[in-house]
């Protein structure tokens, strides 16, 4: 399989750079999680802030300064920030473990055509019909194809000159939708 783009197919050859993995997994996540409606988000945060205002008013009734609510919010923010930091460090370890698979694969050759996706590497051969691809999604530096709970990540760097990532995704979606 040689790399190239024709009217009938796109063929790529690349080694997967695991630096793309966090962005690819983020793209996979967004492809699975439907965006929340603006109205839902607006109502949720309106209720939260209204609750805090009521709390500030209530503690004022007991002779305490309502400004203490701000101190409380900032303290709670410290707690949330600490958890967010912990999550980041855990995810870094997670990416290192899950990225180990690509140490085995060597060069990946992938072909996209009207029938589906054909992938070959040092340890596997995989053929997906387009019906197996649940979503084609943009990620930072990559295109992510979600298939069930798994993903196929194509780094933008693997695309040949003259084929930009959005045109690539448009062609995949064209085949997928036909």
């Amino acid at each position: 399989m040689d790399a190239g783009v024709t009217e009938d197919a796109i063929e790529l050859r690349y080694r997967f750079d695991t630096k793309v993995l966090p962005a690819a997994m983020s793209g996979w996540w967004r492809s699975a999680v439907p965006p929340q409606k603006f109205v839902h988000r607006a109502v949720f945060w309106a209720v939260v802030w209204l609750g805090l205002l009521v709390l500030a008013g209530a503690i004022g009734q007991y002779g305490l300064s309502p400004v203490l609510v701000i101190a409380g919010i900032l303290g709670a923010g410290v707690m949330v920030a600490a958890f967010a930091y912990l999550q980041r460090t855990r995810m870094r370890q997670f990416y290192r473990i899950v990225g180990a698979h690509w140490d085995q694969t060597g060069e990946i050759a992938v072909r996209f055509d009207a029938q589906g996706v054909d992938m070959r590497d040092d340890v596997s051969m995989q053929r997906y019909a387009w019906a197996a691809i649940d979503a084609v999604h943009r990620a930072k530096g990559a295109t992510v194809l979600r298939t069930g709970m798994a993903m196929i990540a194509i780094p933008d760097a693997a695309l040949p000159e003259g084929l930009d990532p959005s045109a690539f995704r448009a062609r995949l979606n064209g085949w997928r939708g036909s």
Partner: protein, 176 residues
């Protein structure tokens, strides 16, 4: 080795979820799980104390008086609760998204195991992996999984004896 084992299975979604959970919780290394739990607990205590100090300092700054410990503890608990709620909402939305019907997980599949590797065939996917593609085989309560980093496959297999036998053979093939 000429041994070959063929299984026809259906609806692998639950098996995949079971194996994914095993991978995510690092079941293979119990010490890792214990370490992770201790780390989270220590982080919670540390973050709680930090939140307490911030609240006390800010309250003193704003009001000039001595605020009660209750306010700091309350703020720390609200922060922990808010994070928990955000995490649960996030996971809930992901589970909701993944519960949509998927041709990859919902349809019938044929799994064939032999000394060279495993082949998984369905109406929409045909995959062949050598044993070098996987670094471990996982045994769940009702499923068998093959995993390598983020890449994993799971097959529902209720019969514990068959599962144990197959597990032993796969381990031998992987080490060969």
């Amino acid at each position: 080795m000429s041994d070959s084992f063929r299984f026809e299975v259906d609806n692998t979604g639950e098996a995949r979820a079971e194996i994914a959970t095993m991978i995510a919780t690092g079941h293979a290394d119990t010490w890792q799980v214990r370490y992770a739990r201790w780390r989270v607990m220590m982080a919670m205590v540390g973050a709680g104390m930090l939140a307490l100090i911030v609240v006390m300092l800010l309250a003193r700054l704003f009001t000039g008086g001595q605020p009660s410990l209750l306010l700091g503890v309350g703020a720390a608990m609200i922060g922990a609760g808010a994070w928990n709620m955000l995490a649960r909402r996030s996971v809930g939305r992901l589970v909701g998204g993944l519960s949509e019907p998927s041709a990859v997980m919902d349809g019938p599949q044929v799994w064939t195991f032999d000394a060279d590797g495993v082949r998984i065939v369905s109406d929409v996917v045909d995959s062949r992996f050598t044993w070098r593609a996987f670094d471990r085989v996982l045994e769940g309560q009702s499923a068998l999984g093959l995993a390598s980093g983020a890449v994993y496959f799971a097959m529902p297999l209720e019969d514990a004896d068959v599962r144990a036998d197959l597990l032993g053979r796969i381990e031998a093939w992987m080490q060969a």
